[in-house]
């Protein structure tokens, strides 16, 4: 007769469970947020939604509605696993409501129907969206619709270790004037190679540490293509400029040949790379504005401005000095109810307000998304944010939103890597890239 009490309590438990479910469904909305490439300084990409949810709930309460938002946050530190997980989850109809990702994903994801345009849910003329820099809004548009709200902006500078620049003959005022000289094209990528060489010859840095590029594939490498006169897209069609790409490939081959960059640089452990640039093991390197946060917060570089000068990526032959901005954007994923997506959109709108977005911008050393954000005390009082905004952002390009760009990028990178490691000559690499681009992209790319 022990079965009866068990049955009884089971029935009671079931009733209790069912009742909570009924109450819960009346007011609970779960909004899931994923973000890619989010390290320890980037927590506000997802944490902003805690604040936004709190505000939205209070607003609902004032209107007399009961709204309880549960925010589920899933930040990924890298990109490969994030994009794999997100794409497959979306195909399996298990996509999150909101995702923060690079704007270049908008093209393929929109074509596949994985995302819905935010402009269907957010009035773009309303505050704070109407206040966002128009060029950033353009970057999140595709096929005539705005698919995402820019989450941050950034740009990717060249960094110079000041003590070594002084040791090879630059005065303090020379170093101060360097950003201007680079902007005017008076100091070029050729000078970078020469100065890196000088640093090594003087024994300031070890062989292979004169110029110390990013240790993995990234949008950064398109900057060099631009420096050498390349264009990524024209009127909706991708562009492969053979001569510019060859000069880009050749430059990295030359760096290796001159011994200022390591042949096996790509694929080295990231932690090692960070430690080395933070401790002055490298002479000249390039990175992003957000490197400031990691160098200062995690890597222990106490006096950044005394040790490091930052500039645009210098011009090469046939091009001009430039930098690249690779904004992340909040996108709305398809496959949810209209009501949930509307709440998600409302949350994005609140999270984009200057004060909340400034938390992310300053903590992670990204740049703000709107002019009013630069007036928030936290932002205005930050030397890095204000100097970097002024020096770099006006010269920033972005990668095109084109459903085929990912394929182009993969092929471009594969052959750059092959030239870098000496597996191919620059000529062979450009020809291989051309062959493969023709066979995979056909008419969607202009080759010249």
């Amino acid at each position: 007769m022990t079965v009866l009490p068990i049955l009884k309590s089971a029935a009671l438990a079931a009733v209790l469970l069912a009742s909570t479910a009924v109450f819960a469904s009346a007011k609970d909305v779960t909004i899931s947020v994923w973000s890619g490439g989010s390290g320890p300084n980037d927590n506000y990409r997802t944490d902003a939604f805690d604040i936004a949810a709190d505000i939205l709930e209070r607003e609902a309460a004032i209107r007399g509605e009961q709204l309880n938002i549960i925010v589920q946050k899933t930040p990924y530190s890298g990109w490969e696993d994030f994009k794999q997980a997100l794409t497959l989850a979306a195909e399996a109809k298990k996509a999150p409501n909101i995702v923060a990702t690079g704007h270049e994903d908008i093209g393929p994801w929109a074509q596949a129907g994985l995302i819905v345009p935010v402009e269907n849910y957010i009035d773009l003329d309303s505050w704070p969206i109407g206040d966002i820099y128009p060029n950033l809004m353009e970057i999140t548009s595709f096929n005539g619709a705005v698919y995402g709200i820019p989450q941050d902006a950034e740009s990717r500078p060249m960094f110079f270790w000041k003590p070594y620049m002084k040791a090879i003959g630059y005065t303090d005022s020379d170093i101060e004037a360097l950003p201007g000289k680079i902007e005017k094209g008076e100091y070029t990528l050729k000078n970078v190679l020469e100065d890196a060489r000088k640093m090594q010859d003087k024994g300031l840095v070890q062989a292979g540490y004169g110029f110390y590029p990013r240790n993995s594939n990234g949008p950064d490498y398109w900057q060099f293509y631009t420096s050498f006169g390349g264009v990524m897209e024209e009127e909706g069609k991708l562009v492969f400029d053979k001569a510019a790409m060859k000069r880009t490939y050749q430059y990295f081959a030359d760096l290796v040949k001159a011994g200022v960059t390591k042949k096996n640089h790509i694929g080295m452990p990231g932690d090692q790379w960070w430690k080395e640039v933070a401790t002055g093991k490298a002479g000249i390197w390039h990175g992003g504005t957000w490197h400031y946060a990691r160098l200062v917060n995690q890597e222990g570089l106490k006096d950044f401005f005394a040790n490091v000068q930052f500039t645009l990526i210098p011009a090469g032959e046939g091009g001009k000095a430039n930098t690249l901005t690779h904004p992340l954007a909040y996108l709305l994923m398809a496959g949810h109810t209209e009501e949930e997506t509307q709440i998600a959109a409302d949350l994005i709108k609140i999270a984009s307000e200057p004060r909340i977005n400034a938390l992310h911008a300053i903590k992670s050393a990204h740049l703000g998304i709107s002019p009013s954000e630069t007036k928030v005390d936290l932002y205005a009082g930050n030397r890095w944010a204000s100097e970097a905004t002024e020096r770099l952002l006006p010269h920033a390009n972005a990668m095109p939103n084109n459903a085929e760009f990912g394929k182009y990028w993969t092929i471009m990178w594969k052959n750059l890597e092959a030239t870098w490691t000496g597996a191919k000559t620059a000529d062979a690499a450009v020809n291989d890239a051309e062959t493969e681009l023709k066979s995979t992209l056909g008419n969607s790319i202009i080759i010249r």
């Binding site: 794999q84 994985l114 993969t410 990178w413 493969e436 008419n443």
Partner: protein, 433 residues
């Protein structure tokens, strides 16, 4: 009799279902995927029809007139749209105000049309604005049509009455989903990178197999055979360690050994060599370590199989040969190796297939680098279909690559069976007949 047969089928059913679901279906699905151009952009579940700028570009050569006619967005406040708006049962003020104030106006973009709609006195919500602006859309540019007929009907409304052939051209240019194609195999056969990856794979499999999975395993089995039992088991246990260590930890140990700040670098710095990443320094280094990492794992299995096979040889044969004055080399040549033919075939065959398909050690150690030096076929298929930095997952191409692997595996197995004369191995021995 009947019942026992049914019972047999019943008993084997779970196994057959498993085999069907987890062995046969993946191969069949791979084959199906391989014949498509599926990627992140096309999606897996199908597509829609959308006249994008890119589609207009594609149409320019075949149907220039149509391409020009549909290249611009156009929104017109007309009676037709207003009638539809009235049937929507939104606030009546919307239609009335539009009719009174904006009748006949033409807007060159959705944004401008929506600015007008947004400014209506009854303040439509963002979603209502979209609903209303859709009704006045007199172009097809950038509208996503869920079916082909819908697109054609809308084109007809715009005055483009297309022949079935023209419709096909338009449908092909505007379809966003995947299509059946054999292009993947064309890309595989013509790309120089694929050839390089194929060569890498052949090199990796044959060298690892020859040197370690069979060669070194045989060496271990033979030498431990001639050792004292207790010493032999110690050696075998040591060589089993790589296999029983979790692969992530095992590869991490190798990384500690070879990193810039690892053991080899520290050791070599005593002799004045600057630290370097020995694992990724050159393609030769990478291959050296990749083969060692895999070989040390692979050797243990061959060792176990061969040792037990040698144990199964009757001791009397060894005693007799010693009486005849045979040396150890002669024992190996004339007694052991002939009787190991079957285990060697098994290990060669099994290890070839597992080396072809395995990439986790390479993924964890070099990730296919430096450059693409140690990128093998299965790793390349994984990178292509499921895991790359740009997030452009090409399911179709990756599946085609996987299918090539399946075919190569089958062909190699057949060749092995011929070389080792499988038929004679399984024929009944004459003595026990």
């Amino acid at each position: 009799m009947r019942t026992s047969r049914t019972l047999g089928l019943f008993m084997i059913a779970p196994a057959s279902i498993m085999i069907f679901l987890f062995f046969l279906m993946p191969v069949v699905l791979t084959a199906i995927f391989a014949m498509t151009n599926m990627s992140t952009a096309t999606g897996i579940s199908g597509g829609a029809w959308q006249v994008t700028q890119a589609a207009v570009n594609r149409l320019k050569t075949d149907l220039p007139e149509l391409a020009d006619g549909i290249a611009e967005p156009r929104f017109i406040i007309d009676e037709e749209g207003l009638k539809e708006l009235e049937t929507l049962k939104l606030k009546p003020g919307f239609a009335a105000e539009l009719r009174a104030e904006h009748m006949g106006e033409v807007y060159p973009s959705r944004r401008e049309a929506e600015r007008v709609i947004k400014a209506l006195k009854d303040r439509p919500s963002t979603r209502e604005v979209k609903q209303i602006s859709d009704l006045f859309n007199r172009s097809v540019l950038n509208t996503r049509f869920e079916t082909r007929d819908e697109l054609m009907a809308n084109l007809k409304k715009l005055g483009f009455d297309l022949t079935p052939q023209q419709q096909d051209i338009v449908a092909r240019a505007t379809y966003t989903g995947w299509i059946w194609t054999t292009d993947n195999f064309r890309i595989i056969s013509s790309s120089p990178d694929m050839a390089q990856i194929f060569f890498n794979t052949a090199f990796y499999v044959s060298v690892t197999l020859l040197l370690f999975n069979v060669g070194y395993a045989l060496f271990l089995a033979l030498t431990t055979h001639y050792m004292q039992a207790s010493t032999a088991s110690v050696f075998r246990a040591i060589w089993l360690l790589p296999r029983i260590t979790p692969v992530v930890i095992y590869v991490l140990l190798w990384k500690w050994l070879t990193w810039d700040s690892g053991f080899i670098s520290t050791f070599m710095s005593q002799f004045g060599y600057p630290p370097k990443n020995y694992l990724l320094d050159t393609a030769y280094n990478a291959w050296f370590f990749v083969i060692l990492i895999n070989g040390f794992i692979g050797a243990s299995m061959g060792m176990l199989v061969f040792s037990s096979a040698i144990k199964a040889i009757p001791q009397t044969q060894f005693h007799a040969s010693e009486v005849d004055g045979a040396s150890r080399l002669q024992q190996i040549r004339y007694i052991i190796l002939p009787q190991l033919r079957w285990p060697i075939l098994f290990v060669t065959c099994y290890q070839t297939l597992s080396l072809l398909a395995s990439f986790n050690e390479i993924l964890l150690s070099t990730r296919g680098g430096p450059g693409k030096a140690t990128e093998v076929w299965s790793l390349a298929a994984f990178h292509t279909a499921l895991n790359n930095y740009t997030g452009n997952l090409e399911y179709g191409l990756g599946a085609a690559m996987a299918l090539v692997l399946v075919v190569v595996g089958i062909i190699l197995s057949l060749i092995y069976l011929r070389i080792f004369r499988y038929d004679t191995l399984i024929s009944k021995p004459l003595i026990e007949d």
